[in-house]
Point group: C2
């Protein structure tokens, strides 16, 4: 069973769940109320998100509150870092060209 964060966020429903619980913890029922699907389907998504540690559970009596493990999101940011360098370089090169054009106009 392959469970990594990239696979977890590939599903649009899971991205919506992540956005929903980013700021406040929610129970599966409360989350499911925001979607046109069953609670069990949401439960499955929550399981996947929990398995890759993107989401954590807090037991309160018979309710389970799910909340985002924001630290895990940094992994995506870390992966993106290598590409950020590339697009920033391209931007700088474009910048140089624009400066050269400006100079020529003077």
């Amino acid at each position: 069973m392959r469970r990594d964060i990239f696979q977890a966020i590939a599903d649009p429903t899971r991205r919506a769940i992540v956005a929903l619980i980013a700021l406040q913890a929610m129970t599966p029922n409360a989350i499911a109320n925001n979607f046109h699907t069953t609670r069990q389907a949401i439960s499955k998504h929550l399981r996947i998100l929990t398995e890759c540690e993107l989401v954590k559970q807090d037991y309160k009596g018979r309710e389970i509150y799910y909340s985002l493990e924001i630290q895990k999101m940094k992994e995506i940011d870390k992966w993106l870092e290598q590409y950020r360098k590339i697009w920033e370089n391209r931007f700088n090169e474009l910048d140089k060209i624009l400066i050269t054009i400006k100079r020529k106009k003077k």
Copy 2:
């Protein structure tokens, strides 16, 4: 056919392809040489990457060079932005606590 960038980078082989062609354009054969799979399988991945515009094609005779559309990567960065704000806030709050502890020590 659902083709978005998040689904595109969900597959580890596709992430590897992206990393491979990030700095230099490559042909399908050249790319496939880096993996333990057939050229056709790589070709399928390239098709998915092309369909979601993460990769572009340049025809040179009978060869097709694939290269990364670095601009598209910014979409992930943009999506990540809302969460970056959250983890930076958490960090700042931690910072405040640390400063408070330091003051008490004095």
